[in-house]
């Protein structure tokens, strides 16, 4: 099967600054992928190139089998919702109608439901919307377009927790009924983690981790307790990070644990707390206090396509 998105050796630089550095990536059709990484890591550049809004310096980009830039055939089957999307000076209702003309799979009913959920009034001028409501409009268009390839770049600036939950719930419900390829960049990793089938972590323009999201859970564990016991338990195992306070130590240990490990930890009086996806990304993407996967090759956690 042709992947919905396929990128090979993609590099983009602005003068002497490298935004993307030999990125290669393939996303299957019918999956939700989280695009994660720090500010300035290159997430937006990648999404803009996928959306045909920017050209790569070098490399090959294919969306639905063809280069997206200036390709109407591809662009109509794809929607891109960006952070702080700008709109022309018209009303909410106009924006929704314009979108309905552009996107062949547009679902009017879904757009109406979402607008109601978010309290978006059609008569309201977009200029006068709050930041959160402008994000809600972007999300409404992004979901109701039901495009085969749906790109969201931090789509929820200014949205409150309730509205974000509405977004997640509606996204899952509509995706379950109409599977498509969704790529969502976000900083709210723990919040969105359960939506993802796979995650791609970018750091300094490079892909540092590409893995099945569920396979990453429980891949690393924080072991804490008395220094001697922690040392005994972690000897000979891959460790990312070690901290110590007096007689207590806390170590991030890589690799899945088996029942016997848990029993051993318990008899040593150690606490084991699995890392969440968000904590894992902090370790993977350039936190100076942690040796990243590139450095210590943690793991090929199960499901990682290195």
């Amino acid at each position: 099967m042709t992947p919905a998105i396929s990128v090979a050796g993609l590099t983009r630089h602005y003068r002497d600054q490298v935004a993307l550095d030999h990125v290669s990536l393939e996303l299957e059709a019918g999956s939700i992928t989280g695009l994660l990484g720090r500010n300035g890591a290159g997430k937006t550049t990648l999404l803009r190139i996928l959306a045909g809004q920017e050209f790569p310096s070098t490399g090959d980009v294919r969306v639905l089998g063809a280069p997206p830039a200036e390709n109407d055939q591809v662009l109509r089957r794809m929607v891109f919702v960006r952070e702080d999307q700008a709109y022309p000076d018209f009303k909410v209702g106009h924006a929704l109608r314009a979108a309905s003309w552009f996107y062949p799979n547009w679902d009017r009913e879904l757009a109406g439901t979402l607008a109601e959920d978010f309290n978006l009034r059609p008569k309201k001028s977009i200029k006068k919307l709050s930041r959160g409501l402008r994000s809600a409009l972007g999300i409404t268009i992004g979901l109701a377009a039901r495009a085969e390839v749906t790109l969201f770049d931090e789509p929820y600036a200014g949205l409150d927790a309730v509205a974000r939950q509405i977004f997640y719930d509606r996204l899952l419900a509509d995706y379950a009924e109409f599977p498509r390829t969704i790529l969502l960049s976000t900083h709210l990793i723990d919040e969105a983690a359960a939506l993802f089938e796979s995650v791609v972590v970018i750091d300094q323009g490079r892909v540092v981790l590409e893995a099945a999201a569920d396979g990453l859970r429980g891949v690393a564990t924080t072991v804490s307790g008395p220094v001697l016991a922690v040392d005994e338990f972690t000897t000979g195992r891959a460790v990312w990070n070690r901290r110590r306070l007096g007689s207590q130590a806390s170590v991030v240990m890589v690799g899945p644990l088996v029942e016997a490990d848990r029993a051993e930890a318990q008899s040593l009086g150690l606490d084991l707390v699995p890392l969440t996806l968000q904590q894992l990304v902090v370790h993977a993407a350039g936190w100076p206090g942690a040796a990243g996967p590139g450095a210590s090759a943690p793991a090929n956690p199960e499901g990682v396509r290195a």
Partner: protein
């Protein structure tokens, strides 16, 4: 944090889904021959990716605890409850006795004393339930 109907963050969600369905079958909440929730129902309830929910269901199906009926969905297989209860019995020692003994040893409680504690406690529990049948009532 998202609200995932009680799932936790640190272990693969698909195994948690499988564990929960298995527990429901073992407790009789899902009877043999009954339809189990669909992938999409599970995804919506737990707020997780449908592929993750499907993986959880498939884990039980591969184990023969669920069976697929074409076009209708997944159903609890015959004998599933007995098998799950058997597995739980096998795990009882590792899951409950070992930690109990570990902590007892730490506190200097020997096996004899522990057995005594357990039977005392069991008696007390039995007494409690007969004395106050209105469990879950208004606390005084």
């Amino acid at each position: 944090m998202p609200e995932m109907a009680g799932l936790d963050e640190g272990t693969p969600l698909f195994t948690q889904i499988a564990d929960r369905l298995a527990a429901e079958i073992a407790d009789g909440g899902l009877a043999e021959g009954e339809r189990v929730p669909s992938t999409n129902e599970l995804a919506a309830f737990y707020r997780i990716n449908p592929a993750t929910a499907a993986k959880g269901i498939n884990l039980l199906a591969d184990d023969g605890l669920l069976e697929k009926r074409r076009g209708i969905g997944m159903f609890v297989a015959g004998g599933a409850r007995q098998r799950l209860l058997g597995q739980r019995r096998e795990q009882f020692t590792e899951r409950y006795l070992r930690p109990l003994l570990t902590e007892a040893t730490r506190l200097g409680i020997d096996a004899g004393e522990l057995i005594e504690l357990i039977s005392d406690f069991a008696r007390q529990q039995a007494g409690d339930t007969t004395a106050s049948p209105a469990r879950g009532g208004v606390p005084v």
